[in-house]
């Protein structure tokens, strides 16, 4: 990963590209790279869909190596959904391929004149940028099929569907999985709209002729990877729960806790939870000849994903994840897995964030456009988005816009981005992260990693309620660091509980780059990323007032526990004081 590929789509006479040395960007990867480039090169007050915004695509520090789980790819820009900085990451094959092709980042800048659509092909010998208007308004599945026909099946692709072309704020960027299907998405924050604004429909990667990236110390690297994999396999979450049931194993638990937002965050218990749970999903998949355990990219040992077949036993979509099952299920009052799977397929094809779309549809249901539980109406809503009808364009711009258009007060958003599948009144600590994250409401911003090992920002007494802000801060710092490695965040569970697995992760980085990083350095990396992102947002006009949940979360008691969000503003404001 010794180069940056800079593509100017606004150049006179058509797009140009150049290969640049890393320069000041050396040593960065994933979120660290995207946020650094966006901070340095994108004016915070620019229009997200304008010429001065840039789309940055960066594999992680360990992507393209033989380290397990290292295939995440980060996509960054100024978000059209939040108007702040955005990093959204995805699984699939492109992270590994881009890294093996030697690119630490692709930067797409400028704005093309006219309405042509571009296809960018990158292989070991060349970069080719061609106009391909035959791709116009094609869904991601058709785009990938066309690319497969043209370039063979050894490729991977990064593409947008019609939602990205229409520059909708809920538009995602699709990455292909091992079977060359566009099922993995950088979903959050409207990165697809930014790619659409650059006129780029698809990036085709072909790493034929390139091999794995080689570590500075191969022996140590191999040893560290062995310990790392062992740790993942022996942990009950990464070795059992996730491979067996996928992330949707959470449905029963979160529903049981009363924190499972139902019918647009009206209550925390969904009567149809057991019908859409991971346990039921796996049983159905197995019965139909699908797969309950499957990786989204080569080298994944956890394999939290799966294959969802329709009633006839034909592939419909990948196993819908917990967030999708919640967003299109409980949050819309829908208890039918086939309907949810169809919505997932349509989201993937049109290129839409499933969380944002589930939240937008639930708001539309609250507005009276359909009844909660009406699966057919939900499917039709997504189809409207795909066609770009006036209603579709409202929904495709997310929950906040939908609420505004239909006069609904209860829009579950922070900084314009819809909340994920955990109600912050029942699980307040996650509310702290929703409120203060640089990304808008986002559960992955403060995920799970060994804060007890890292002791970021000093010791925290986790049993004290006041400790929630400190814990959320630590989690956000640690997550920012993990997001830079290219490692799937699901490693966090094993790393959380097993110090030797965490050490193995650091050893992997050290052996690969010939470094002597310690846990403190990892902390410092996470802090510096958050600081950059925070500064970008401040310069873009964000203040402490944006670090709040919507008013109704403070005033409306949430059944069954009948709790409100009561973390004080002064406490939230302490999050960035370290």
């Amino acid at each position: 990963m010794e180069f940056i590929l800079r593509i100017d789509v606004g150049a006179k006479g058509g797009p140009t590209w150049r290969k640049e040395p890393l320069g000041g960007y050396a040593g960065n990867g994933g979120r660290g790279m995207t946020s650094l480039i966006v901070s340095k090169e994108v004016p915070p007050l620019c229009h997200p869909l304008g010429a001065r915004n840039k789309l940055v695509i960066a594999p992680g520090l360990l992507s393209g190596t033989s380290a397990s789980m290292s295939g995440r790819i980060s996509i960054g820009c100024k978000s059209p959904l939040t108007n702040g900085i955005k990093e959204s990451n995805s699984g699939g094959q492109p992270g590994q391929m881009l890294a093996r092709l030697g690119y630490a980042a692709i930067i797409i800048e400028g704005k093309p004149e006219g309405h042509d659509l571009y296809k960018i092909v990158i292989n070991k010998d060349e970069v080719k940028i061609d106009i391909d208007n035959s791709l116009k308004m094609l869904g991601n599945y058709d785009v990938v099929d066309k690319m497969k026909n043209e370039y063979g099946d050894k490729i991977s692709t990064i593409s947008i569907g019609p939602a990205g072309e229409m520059k909708m704020s809920a538009a995602s960027i699709a990455c292909t999985d091992m079977e060359l299907r566009p099922t993995r998405h950088a979903g959050r924050g409207g990165t697809g709209a930014v790619m659409g604004s650059k006129g780029v429909k698809v990036i085709v990667l072909d790493d034929t002729g390139k091999s794995m990236r080689t570590p500075k110390d191969p022996e140590k690297f191999k040893e560290a990877n062995k310990i790392f994999v062992k740790g993942l396999k022996k942990h009950p979450v990464t070795g059992e729960a996730l491979p067996t049931y996928g992330t949707n194993v959470l449905t029963n638990i979160i529903n049981e806790s009363g924190g499972f937002p139902t019918n647009n965050f009206k209550s925390g218990k969904f009567s149809g939870a057991s019908k859409i749970s991971g346990e039921s999903e796996v049983e159905l998949q197995t019965k139909r000849g699908g797969l309950a355990t499957h990786g989204c990219h080569r080298g994944c040992v956890i394999q939290c994903s799966g294959i969802y077949n329709d009633k006839q036993g034909n592939f419909l979509t990948k196993q819908p994840e917990y967030e999708t099952v919640w967003a299109h299920g409980a949050n819309c009052g829908i208890d039918d897995l086939d309907t949810i799977a169809m919505l997932d397929r349509l989201d993937d094809d049109f290129g839409l964030d499933t969380i944002e779309m589930g939240a937008a549809i639930a708001v539309a249901m609250e507005a009276g456009l359909a009844k909660f539980g009406d699966g057919e109406a939900a499917i039709n809503f997504i189809k409207e988005v795909g066609k770009g009808t006036p209603l579709g364009r409202i929904l495709g711009n997310g929950a906040a816009i939908t609420a505004k258009a239909y006069g609904v007060e209860r829009a579950p958003v922070v900084k314009g981005q819809a909340m994920p599948a955990y109600d912050p009144r029942a699980i307040k600590g996650i509310g702290v992260t929703y409120a203060t994250s640089t990304m808008g409401a986002d559960h992955t911003s403060g995920y799970a990693i060994a804060t007890n090992i890292l002791k970021v920002g000093g010791d925290v007494d986790p049993l004290k309620t006041e400790g929630q802000v400190d814990l959320s801060r630590n989690l956000q710092i640690a997550t920012a660091a993990i997001d830079s490695t290219g490692m799937c965040l699901f490693i966090a569970f094993a790393v959380l509980d097993q110090p030797e697995t965490f050490q193995a992760l650091i050893d992997l980085l050290n052996a690969f780059y010939g470094l002597t990083l310690t846990a403190d350095d990892v902390t410092a990396l996470g802090k510096s990323i958050l600081k950059m992102e925070r500064k970008f947002n401040t310069d873009a006009g964000f203040t402490a007032k944006h670090d709040r949940l919507p008013e109704y979360f403070y005033t409306e008691a949430f059944p069954p526990h009948n709790v409100t969000f009561d973390i004080k503003d002064e406490d939230l404001d302490q999050l960035y004081n370290w």
Binding site: N252, E256, E279, Y322, G429
Partner: protein, 202 residues
């Protein structure tokens, strides 16, 4: 319990059918206990789940929707609903774990022991098995037989397809062999509150 109202249903099934029956345990089944006893006593002494298994495998427990940290200090009452689960992913999964480092995140919903209400009264409890617990403890519980609300069981059985029934080698309703069409239509228990349901692989 009024035994005169009790229906029994026993299935003798092929292995793959058992896997399809296990998800019914997510909704819960009925057990009897003693009001005022601890959750630990209920699970270990009464339900015979080994303390090692509880310590190592059941890392997430809810009583009436409240995450539990200490099973010795958790008290059962009539109508309690208990859910047992393995370790869960995600930050929130970690938050819900017993004795979680992140327990403060869910402080306002965590189970807290109220004033002691010692009692010897027999009480009815709903017990749910999720994920690995469902898979690991479910087959034995089903083999011994457990009580279900008739509405939950009929709801489950009437939603099964033909291939499910073809994997049933023997169906005994109140100890007498019957064809699956009767069960499939759910016409067998509606008048009863509870059904004693057992499943074995044969």
């Amino acid at each position: 319990m009024n035994n005169s109202k009790l229906t029994t249903l026993s299935l003798c099934v092929e292995e793959h059918v058992l896997a399809r029956i296990l998800p019914i345990l997510q909704k819960g089944f009925i057990i009897w206990s003693r009001a005022g006893c601890s959750l630990n006593e209920l699970l270990c002494m009464q339900q015979k789940i080994s303390s090692d298994y509880i310590a190592e495998r059941i890392s997430t427990i809810f009583l009436d929707g409240k995450p539990v940290d200490d099973i010795d200090k958790t008290v059962i009452h009539d109508g309690s609903s208990i859910a047992l689960s393995g370790a869960m992913p995600g930050l929130v999964g970690a938050v819900m774990r017993r004795g979680s480092f992140y327990a403060s995140f869910r402080d306002s919903i965590t189970y807290k022991k109220g004033p002691d209400t010692p009692s010897q009264e027999k009480c009815m409890v709903n017990l749910k098995f999720f994920n690995i617990v469902m898979k690991e403890l479910g087959p034995d519980f089903l083999k011994k037989g457990i009580f279900f609300k008739s509405s939950d069981l009929t709801d489950f059985l009437t939603n099964q397809s033909k291939d499910f029934w073809h994997g049933n080698k023997e169906i005994l309703l109140n100890k007498k062999p019957v064809g699956y069409s009767l069960i499939e239509k759910g016409e067998f228990v509606l008048q009863n509150d509870l059904v004693f349901f057992s499943v074995k692989v044969c």
